[in-house]
C-alpha cells in the first residue's frame, strides 16, 4: 500500500508526519533542528529518500540540511549563498534605496530528474542552484539583473523569492514569484528572465498595472498542464492559460480573495484550493470559521469545505507554503496553521481531521507520496 510522508517546517523545528494510504493513523517524528526556524523542506521526486531542509536563525544565519534516508538522519551541507557580482540596491518599503542582503532560504525545489540538483529561492530575492546535492550554491543572476530588480520592494515578510515552479515538460522553463515584485519566467534554464505580470491589478501601488511591484503570494501548476498557472495574489485569485504571459481574475464568489496558499488537485487540473482570510490587516478566517475553498471549474465558482474544521473562535493564518496535496486517489489535501495544527483531508477536501494540534507556528507543508 502507498504511504505518505508530510514534511512540516515550523518556527521552532521540523516535523515528519507519516501514514499509510488510508491517512487515518499518523506517526509524528520531531522536532528536528529544535529551536530553529525551518522555512521549507522538500523531497526529491527522483529519489524520495533525498530530502532538503532550510534551517534558519536570526542569530546564526542559514543552514541547509540534507537527508539521504528519508529523514532518519541529516547532515548540514553548503550554506554559502553569495550573490554574483555587485548587487546594487533594491527599494526599501518607503521607496529609498536599500542594499541587497542575503537573509534566508524560503523555498527549496529539487529537480524532478536529478536528486543532486536543487534550486533555492532566497531573501533578498534571488535564485540559486546546486548541482552537487547542496554542497555548493551558485546564483542564477539573470533574474536579479533582468532589469526591474532595482524597483523591487519587500513584502511584509521581506523581499523573498518564495515560489519556484519547474515545468516537467520543458527543463528550460522556470517560473518564480517574489514578494512584492511579481512573477518571472525563464525559457532558457534560468539565464534570461522576463516579468510575467500582465493582467495583474494591485490597488496599493502607484501604478496598479505596473510591470513589477505586485505582491504575489503563491503560484501553483498542475504537471499535466504547465501552461496553466494559478496565483494567490495579496488580493485576487488569478489564472493564466499561457504560461504567465497574461492573467485574469478567477476570484468569483469567494467571500474574500485575500489569502496565501493555492494548490491544485493531483488528478484534476481544474480543481483548485485556497484559504480565504478576512483581509490583509486581519489575517485570519472570516467570522472565526476556518474554511478551505475549492473550485472544480478552474476558478470563478468556489465552495467552502468546512467539515472537521473549527467553526468558531478560530483566528489562525495559513501561510503561503503551508498547503500541499498528495498523489493518492482520492487526493489528499493538507495544510498547517500558525496555531500549530496540521489538517488532512483524505477525500479531496470533503472532510478534515487534525494530524497534530499543537506544533509551533507552521511555515510550510510538503507531501511525498511513497510506494
Amino acid at each position: 500500500m502507498s504511504r505518505v510522508r508530510v514534511l512540516v517546517g515550523t518556527r521552532k523545528g521540523a516535523f515528519i508526519l507519516t501514514a499509510d494510504g488510508t491517512r487515518q493513523h499518523w506517526q509524528v517524528t520531531g522536532p528536528l533542528f529544535a529551536g530553529w526556524a525551518i522555512y521549507h523542506l522538500a523531497g526529491s521526486a527522483a529519489d524520495p529518500n533525498r530530502l532538503y531542509a532550510s534551517q534558519s536563525s536570526g542569530w546564526f544565519g542559514q543552514l541547509i540540511q540534507r537527508s539521504d534516508d528519508g529523514g532518519a538522519t541529516w547532515r548540514p551541507v553548503g550554506n554559502r549563498f553569495v550573490y554574483e557580482g555587485e548587487t546594487g540596491p533594491h527599494q526599501w518599503y518607503d521607496g529609498t534605496p536599500h542594499p541587497w542582503e542575503f537573509a534566508r532560504v524560503w523555498h527549496l525545489e529539487p529537480s524532478p530528474t536529478d536528486p543532486d540538483t536543487v534550486y533555492a529561492g532566497v531573501e533578498d530575492a534571488a535564485l540559486f542552484r546546486s548541482t552537487d546535492g547542496g554542497q555548493s550554491w551558485h546564483e542564477l543572476p539573470g533574474l536579479r539583473r533582468h532589469g526591474s530588480g532595482p524597483f523591487w520592494q519587500p513584502g511584509a515578510g521581506g523581499l523573498c523569492l518564495h515560489t519556484i515552479l519547474l515545468d516537467p515538460t520543458d527543463p528550460q522553463r522556470l517560473i518564480v514569484a517574489i514578494s512584492a515584485a511579481g512573477a518571472f519566467r525563464s525559457d532558457d534554464g534560468g539565464q534570461h528572465w522576463r516579468a510575467i505580470n500582465r493582467g495583474l491589478r494591485s490597488a496599493g501601488i502607484p501604478d496598479p498595472t505596473a510591470e513589477v511591484g505586485h505582491c504575489v503570494h503563491r503560484l501553483a501548476m498542475h504537471p499535466s498542464r504547465p501552461n496553466v498557472l494559478f496565483m494567490q495574489k495579496h488580493w485576487d485569485v488569478m489564472r493564466s492559460d499561457d504560461g504567465g504571459a497574461s492573467w485574469y481574475e478567477i476570484s468569483g464568489n469567494l467571500p474574500t480573495d485575500f489569502g496565501f496558499p493555492i494548490v491544485v488537485h493531483a488528478h484534476e487540473p481544474e480543481t483548485v484550493y485556497v484559504v480565504p482570510l478576512r483581509s490583509d490587516a486581519e489575517r485570519f478566517p472570516l467570522d472565526g470559521r476556518l474554511a478551505v475553498y475549492r473550485s472544480r471549474t478552474g476558478g470563478h465558482e468556489w465552495e467552502p469545505l468546512t467539515h472537521g474544521l473549527p467553526q468558531r473562535d478560530c483566528y489562525v493564518n495559513v501561510l503561503r507554503a503551508g498547503m500541499a496535496v498528495d498523489a493518492l486517489d482520492p487526493c489528499g489535501v493538507y495544510f498547517g496553521t500558525t496555531g500549530g495544527q496540521v489538517y488532512v483531508s483524505a477525500d479531496a477536501g470533503e472532510r478534515w481531521m487534525p494530524i497534530v494540534r499543537d506544533l509551533p507556528a507552521v511555515l510550510s507543508v510538503t507531501v511525498q507520496t511513497l510506494p
Binding site: 529544535a34 529551536g35 530553529w36 536563525s57 536570526g58 542569530w59 546564526f60 544565519g61 542559514q62 543552514l63 547532515r75 548540514p76 550554506n79 554559502r80 549563498f81 553569495v82 542575503f102
Partner: protein
C-alpha cells in the same frame, strides 16, 4: 589548549557537550580560534561569521575574562588568560527578542 563555550543551539549543531578544546598553530587570535573551530566542526561554518565577509554576525557576541571582545580586531591577540586556557572564550547569542 584554548577553551571555547558555544551557545546551546550551536552545541547541538556541532554535536558537542560542554566546552570545546582547541589547539592553535601560531598566534592565538580571534580569527585563528574561529578558523580552528570551523575546521573541527564544519557544521558551524557561516553561523558565527557571514560567509561572504567573514565578519561576526550582529547577534553573536564574544566574551572572555569579564571583557566584551566582540568588537576587537579579529587579528588582535586573545587575552593571555584565554590563550593559556585559564579562562574560556565565550560565544554568546545576543539577548534579543523579548
Amino acid at each position: 589548549m584554548i577553551r571555547v563555550v558555544l551557545p546551546a543551539p550551536l552545541r547541538a549543531l556541532a554535536a558537542v557537550e560542554g566546552e570545546v578544546l582547541l589547539a592553535l598553530d601560531g598566534p592565538a587570535t580571534q580569527r585563528a580560534l574561529l578558523d580552528a573551530l570551523e575546521a573541527r566542526y564544519p557544521a558551524l561554518r557561516g553561523t558565527l561569521r557571514a560567509p561572504d565577509t567573514q565578519r561576526r554576525r550582529a547577534l553573536v557576541r564574544f566574551y572572555a575574562a569579564g571583557e566584551d571582545l566582540s568588537h576587537e580586531c579579529p587579528d588582535a591577540p586573545l587575552p593571555a588568560a584565554v590563550a593559556s586556557g585559564a579562562e574560556p572564550f565565550l560565544i554568546v547569542g545576543a539577548m534579543a527578542g523579548g
